[in-house]
Each structure stands twice: as structure tokens, then as C-alpha cells.
Symmetry: C2
């Protein structure tokens, strides 16, 4: 049976946050089955002209093997007030085998409390925001991505692809991760400690 | 007025081929307006679980400024036989200000004849296929992307993002391209002559 990759979206999600990892999992179709979900299902759009058909959260297959993908976007600054979304997200995160957040997707997770005491990172432009949001999270200021137990959290947008390849390596082996990067002709920035954008944003 | 970015898709399009460039243009919303189109409009899906709402080709704004984005995918091996699609694609390509193809998207364009005599590239795994398809195209075997007049053609999948940043640089300036890459925390492989995957595939 293929591992469920449950990609969640909401209005004004950041396109590449979710589509980068989806491409990489999608290239390994014999292992993973990607499906898109939103709180209530139906069409979800963003400012990039993307209009996606989704299923409702309640129809998601969540188990010890399933992978939850959580994108970010500027809209997460508002979504941290959306209690119905956060309540359901918390349940999904607690019951998924792995949770991968991209960019400010980690702010949503932080707002649910499931990252309390966990090492995590986020988009470097939103770093003050996430720190203020929940100081119980052990935020890492310089990291392209951070792994702590079942939680993989990445920096902004494109960092999600580098993190996803690391996740594939950790769970399926180095060879499969390399093959996946080659199929996508993606130049994998495979060292999580090299974070160019940390410096860019600090200047 | 914003420049129309007309992203075309078809059943089983490659996710990141189109979503990588869409993210980058989407980050520059004050300059570009991205919309998705398919031959007859409606919902278009692919094997990565993506189901996209699209408008029909006939509703596309095509002019000397508009940008046509053409993704690839294994399905293009079949689509080169789809004459109704190719006929319309030819008209769109001829009347668009710029045409950007990603991966085997260039095979579709080559099949229409509009690339005859034009320098172009494609996914390196599909290189024999595109060469056989149309030997009047001046195919470049080693290039992450190739520019010839209004045509920008890239290698596989992720190369589309590097090419899109080059396009933004050429048309809006270096500063905007760099800003866009930083916003996406994308490590821009900005030299089109460095093509790691050319070697990978030749081994």
C-alpha cells in the first residue's frame, strides 16, 4: 500500500510551498499517494491564479504512516486566529506519522501547541512573528530545515524541496532521494545548516 | 496593466514544470497576472493528485506582451499526436509576446513547427525523442535553458525556475530577479551553461 501524502491548502496558500514537495513525492508514485485537502473541501484559490479541487479534512486517511504537508503564505498571519482550522490541524498533526511544514506553515502548527518544546524553523522574513507567536517552540534562526522527531520544518518556499528530499533520504534511503532529485533535474541543497537567506534577511 | 502570464495545462502535466514558474511570477503580482488555461477549460488533473480549475484557450488574452507558459510531462509523448491541441498551441505561440517551455513542453512547440530553425532545449532524458520529433529545431544538448528571440526553453522540471528568473532579469532587470529569488528563498542556478543533468543522463 502506498503511503498517503496529505497536502493541505487554504485560501491564499503559497503555491510552491506545497507544489515543490508534491512534485517530489509525485515522482515516487509507487511509494506515495498525494491528495489535496482543505478544511471543508471544494475549490481553493490563491493570488497566483491557482484554483485547486480539494477533499474535506474529514475524508483524510490519517495513520502512523501518513504524511501531513502544511504550506505557508502571508495568509498564515491571519490563520493563526482561525480556531476551527487550528483545532482540526492539531488532531491531524498528532495522528499523522510525519508532519512536514514549509515556510510559515510552521506558524500554524506552533499556534496549535503541538510544537511546544520541539526544534523548528520558518521563513526568515517571518521569524520575529513566529517567535512572538509561541516562545515554547525551540525556534532555530539559521537552518534551511530542522528535523525533530516526526516534525520536519523548513525555511521559506523553495527550502521545502530540499527538506522533502532529506525526508525521502531518511525514510527511503539516499539512493531514492538522489534519483528523485535527478528526475526533477533539481540541484539539491542537501546541507540544512547552509541557510543563505538567514543572512539576506538580517542585512 | 499587468502582463498576462498564460499557464497552459493538460491531463497529466508535470506539476513543478508549471508551478515553479507560476510561483516566481506570482511573487511579482504588481507586474504579472497568472491564469491557467486548457484546450477546453474545466478541471484538469495529473498523477500527483493535483486537480486544477482552468479556463478554455479561447478566453486567453494573447498579445505582444503576454507570456505563454508550456509545461511538459511524460504525456507529451502522446500529445504530439493531438492535432487540435497543436493547432491551437501554434496560434497561441505565434501571437504571444514570449513563450517559455519547461521540460518536454518544448516537444509540443517543436511539433507545431514554430521552433523550426530556433535554438532550444528539453529534458535530457527525452533528448533523443525531441531530436527525432523535429530535426529542424537547433536542439542544444547541454544547457539548463536556451534563449532564442522570444522563445525560452528549459531542461527538466526544476530548470524552469532558473529559466524564469533569467526571463525576469532580461525583461525587468537583475534587481527584480534577485529579489524574486530571495522572496522564494530559491538558490538560483543562474548560469545556463552549467547543466549537471546532461552528464547524469549520459552516464
Amino acid at each position: 500500500m502506498r503511503i498517503p501524502v496529505n497536502a493541505i491548502v487554504f485560501e491564499d496558500f503559497e503555491t510552491l510551498d506545497i507544489m515543490g514537495p508534491v512534485e517530489l513525492f509525485g515522482l515516487l508514485q509507487e511509494h506515495y499517494q498525494v491528495q489535496f485537502y482543505s478544511l471543508n473541501g471544494g475549490l481553493i484559490s490563491n493570488k497566483h491564479g491557482v484554483i485547486l479541487q480539494t477533499q474535506p479534512f474529514k475524508d483524510m486517511t490519517v495513520n502512523q504512516h501518513s504524511i501531513l504537508l502544511v504550506p505557508g503564505g502571508i495568509v498564515t498571519f491571519d490563520l493563526i486566529q482561525n480556531q476551527p482550522l487550528l483545532d482540526q490541524l492539531k488532531t491531524l498533526a498528532l495522528h499523522s506519522g510525519h508532519v512536514l511544514t514549509i515556510c510559515t506553515g510552521s506558524s500554524l502548527l506552533a499556534a496549535t501547541g503541538v510544537l511546544d518544546g520541539v526544534q523548528a524553523t520558518s521563513n526568515k522574513m517571518a521569524f520575529e512573528f513566529v517567535q512572538k507567536l509561541n516562545d515554547k517552540v525551540r525556534w532555530q534562526a539559521q537552518a534551511r530545515w530542522v528535523i525533530d522527531g516526526k516534525f520536519y520544518t523548513s525555511s521559506g518556499v523553495s527550502a521545502g524541496m530540499d527538506m522533502t528530499l532529506a525526508f525521502i533520504r531518511d525514510t527511503q534511503g539516499e539512493k531514492m532521494a538522489q534519483l528523485c532529485a535527478e528526475e526533477a533535474e533539481y540541484i539539491w541543497n542537501c546541507n540544512p545548516e547552509i541557510d543563505h537567506f538567514c543572512k539576506v534577511k538580517a542585512d
